[in-house]
Every structure is written in C-alpha cells, then in structure tokens.
Symmetry: C2
Subunit: 103 residues, 2 copies
DNA sequence: TATATTTTTGCCAAAAATTGTCAAGAAAAT
DNA sequence: ATTTTCTTGACAATTTTTGGCAAAAATATA
C-alpha cells in the first residue's frame, strides 16, 4: 500500500466509499463544507481534531492520518528545494539527538 | 563533522571566531541586533537573504546553512511527535514522487 | 570598582499567514 | 429540468511572525 496519498485524498476516498456527502462530513467535523472541500483538495490544512473525528467515524487508523498530515506539510515545503534529501537526513539526526536530550 | 548544530549556533560560532560583535553582523544583515541575538539562540527564524549574506561574509557554504535552516524547522516541529520517524520516511517518498510529477 | 561595550529581554505595533464563513456558480446526479 | 453536491472567490476575524525600541543584564576593560 502506498503512503504517497495525501491526507486530503485519503479523507475523500474514505468519505466517498461511504457515499457520504461533503456536507455531512463537514457537519461532523464542525466546519464549513467549503473548508472541507479545500482540505480534500489540499488547499487548506486539516488539524488534529479533524483527523481524530475522521478516524473514529470511518474506523481509520489515526496514526496513519497523522503521518499523512505531517508529511504532507513537510513535503510541500521541500518540493521546490534542491537540497531536500540532505535536509531530511539532517532533520532526522536532529530529531533523534534532541529527543535524547529531553529525556 | 556533526550536522546537529543549529543554524543559530553556527552563525554565532562563525561570528565569534571573527570577534565580530552582534551589532556589526546585525548591521550587515540589516536587522536589529536584538533580532540577531534571538536568531543565534533559535528564538527567531533566519531567512534566505540572511544566510546568503552570512555565507558571503564569512566564506561559509551557503548550502550547509540552508540545510540547517530547513532542518531546524522540521526537527522543531517533530521533536514532540512520537511518529517522527515514519513522518520523515513518508515525507521523503512524497518529495521524490511529486518532484518526478513536476518534470 | 567604575566605565564602556556587548548581549539579552520584554514589549509593542505592523505585516503576513491562517482560519472560518458566506454566497454564487459549476458540476453531477436523479 | 430540477435537485443536490461540490467548488470557487471574496471577505473579515484571528493567530502567528516579524522588526524594532529601550531598558536590564552580562561581559569586558581600564
């Protein structure tokens, strides 16, 4: 299974599989339907509360949604960046290093 | 050589090696000295123009500074995130995939 | 110690980015 | 053709980021 699917595409896929209209999911998420439309097309950001609700509602894995939410953001920032590989490698080192420091 | 050093620490190290006061480097970067102080302690973000100037001024590698700038930001966002490893792995896949699409 | 210099801090206002909402139009389904 | 769903663009409200001042704190120098 591919992890490349964006969070927006994932939400849309889950929603359409249940033949649920935007309007209804938007209501469940307590946002305007236009906002949800944009989220599904990756023009707006979802947030933690939203993916939690989506996970519960559709029996999806919250962690997978979270990974998509965060990786979308990073990928978007790096898409036009020539040094993206090194950036991610160094970021990984830093995260590991600073997590250890915290303990 | 470790890549874990933050951009702020790097700038400070380069500056102090030349015994240059904050005030002077701040002037060269066209920002307030208090802002530079915060940048060196990673309380504020530097930007591309700033690292370009720093690279020229100190004969440092612009690309390395850029990598630090971007990786600092990502690492900071992920430091409190349990799923950081997966997030970075997926982000890498996405960047690769979407870069190909662009071509 | 006193003085000068450098660095840090807190605060504020301006600018930029994000968010939420509405209403109208386009697309799709019936 | 009518109804329903989805998309788009615009707007204000809110939040976040930025830049700069001015005073306090820290450091260096005489």
């Amino acid at each position: 299974m591919s992890n490349i699917e964006t969070l927006g595409a994932t939400i849309r896929r889950l929603r359409e599989a249940r033949e649920m209209p935007l309007r209804k999911l938007a209501a469940a998420l307590d946002i305007d339907q236009s906002t949800l439309s944009k989220i599904e097309r990756n023009e707006r950001n979802a947030n933690d509360a939203m993916i939690k609700t989506v996970a519960e509602l559709f029996g999806a894995d919250y962690k997978e949604l979270k990974i998509k939410l965060l990786s979308d953001k990073i990928a978007y920032d790096l898409i036009n960046e020539a040094l993206s590989d090194e950036v991610l490698r160094v970021a990984e080192e830093k995260v590991e290093y600073f997590k250890k420091l915290k303990k």
